[in-house]
């Protein structure tokens, strides 16, 4: 990911209202991200674990 924060503007956020402060992802968005991230990492780790198991045997 990038180091610069994604800042809401009139162009990219049609419900922008400065009175409500800065915008953050919802926890639904966080859960959706994790639902993609976790299976990917799990797969990668499982594969390495399987290969290492075979090598050490």
């Amino acid at each position: 990911s990038t180091s610069t924060a994604y800042i809401a503007t009139r162009e990219n956020c049609c419900i922008l209202d400065d009175r409500f402060g800065s915008f953050c992802p919802t926890t639904c968005g966080i859960a959706d991200f994790l639902n993609e991230y976790y299976p990917t990492v799990d797969n990668d780790l499982q594969e390495m674990e399987r290969i290492l198991q075979r090598i050490s045997n």
Partner: protein, 63 residues
């Protein structure tokens, strides 16, 4: 801080969520942080194991 048990119970009588609720109703941030911390711990544990196996096997191979 924890509320009294009776207070918690009456506030848990929400209807079961529909698929359409996703996006407008979301999990608690505390709960998400808990999941993230737990998974992070599990993954670092597994990664450490892999690292150890790798270096152990590397040493065996050199001998």
């Amino acid at each position: 801080e924890h509320k009294s048990q009776s207070g918690c119970q009456s506030e848990k009588n929400w209807p079961i969520c529909a698929d359409d609720d996703w996006g407008t109703k979301c999990p608690s941030g505390c709960r998400m942080q808990g999941v993230i911390d737990e998974k992070d711990q599990e993954y670092s544990h597994r990664i450490d194991k892999i690292k150890k196996l790798l270096s152990d096997n590397q040493n065996n191979y050199k001998k």
